[in-house]
Amino acid sequence: MEYLATVTILIAIYVILAASYNLVIGYGGLATVAHPIFFAIGAYVSGLLAIHVGMPPILSVALGAVAAMVASVLLAASSLRVSGDYLLIASLGFQLGLLQLIRNLELTGGPGGLSNIPSTITGAARTPAFLAITIGLAAVSVLGIRAIVRGPYGRAITAMRDEELAFTALGRNAMSMKIVIFAIGCGVAGMAGGVYAYYFQYVSPEQFEVLQSAQILTMVVLGGMATAYGPVVGAVLLLAIPQAITFLNLPQNIMAPLQGIIFTVLVLLFLFLRPTGIMGASESKPRARATEAA
């Protein structure tokens, strides 16, 4: 049961990551690969505050999220000003550079990472408590993002993605909207990082590699880009399938490549058969819009 609970908590954390990435890349149309580093910023800041300051978890997780948010504004404001495409390159550099810094700083524990993050909840109540917290936060994140993209603000996001020049010429400040969307998405990822740090009590650089963004992106695309519940479906599927396979008791030399093969086949199948993802509007209903599909 403990194993299942851990998997569920991990899935809930990834639902938060996928949902926030979907806000940035799916709804906002902002191409970034730096999502793992904002997850890392949240995790490290919360972890360090817990270890060195003994700060209460709610406060340190919140500060982790704020730190991720501030970092994301610095990245977005500088790169979006140059051009939208520049964000992709800048985010890659930011991701690789900052992770390298984390790997080499003494403060962050270097390549060995940060261990001994204090467990605030102990004993038998720990797992149920974290289950409730992570699932609750996942629900709040998914529904919160859904609320953002549905109302008048979401209409503006859709219009901006459709035709940015006309949008701006109507008096809308596309630049500041992009920065805000990016900041919200990255801040939520930072919050996920904080919870992750408290639950696993250990964070290390290799948990936040750039390849993580490929995994989170796969969740978003498979579930359905720019749909409210797509990231949930994507995160559950992509994390549950590998866990389910481990029950098949296959030898390790088959198991390892099998997971990669399954992911690749899934992505290819979806690209060809259902590019809008599981929760996305089907091809036969071109009238359905992003906001409606949500």
């Binding site: 503006a156 020049l165 919200i184």
Partner: protein, 252 residues
Amino acid sequence: MTQVLRTVDLNKRFGGIVVSDNINITIDRGEILGLIGPNGAGKTSLFNLISGVLRPDSGSIFLNGQAVDTSPLYKRARMGIARTWQNMLLFRTMTVIENLLIAPREYAGESILRVTFGLGSVRSAERQARERALGILDRMGLAGTAESMVTDLPFGQQKLIGLARTLMNDGPLLLLDEPMAGVEGAAYETMQAVVRQEAALGRAVCVVEHNVSFIRDLCSRAVFMANGKILQDGTVEELIASKALTELYFGV
């Protein structure tokens, strides 16, 4: 007559190509100014300079006597410079009414803080915008299309929606970039009537148009441009009578 727009010695070049060569134009309140000339004359570039899509190399733009040179595109729209586009640039995944709701000078839904914490004020602003939008659509005989996807409408109606969206901006200056291109029949009549009404309401209107009869019907004054220069500024009759311009434009 109150002067709404004045450009002073506007210059813009892209490498060796001069798109705007010392352009000085003025448009008064209630006036419909025609802007004609061959393709590549710099008509759309002039719109881009006035609305803020392009920055001039030198020169100034005044709206109601106030310089707008340092204001970016979105701020100029909020100051009341409203424009349409040759190829409409509608928000294609949205309905007609949604296209219009985005477009008031001040959009309540633009601020995440206001949307999150000031729900009441957003709701009333939305209600007002919706009423206004339906009113504009009604004037064009398009009230029935409000909930249709813009891409489902015929081309002429899409052109009208492009104008309707721009009219949500109730500012003093209206720039129309080839409103009639590809438009015929009922939409043509509607377009003319609406442009006339807007001018009658006191707006300064500038129309780039190849359809000379549309210009002749609507404008008392027109400007002829070629190679980034203003060659003549006068009544439409004068322009049409000018042999040199007719040769340049119509190649006859």
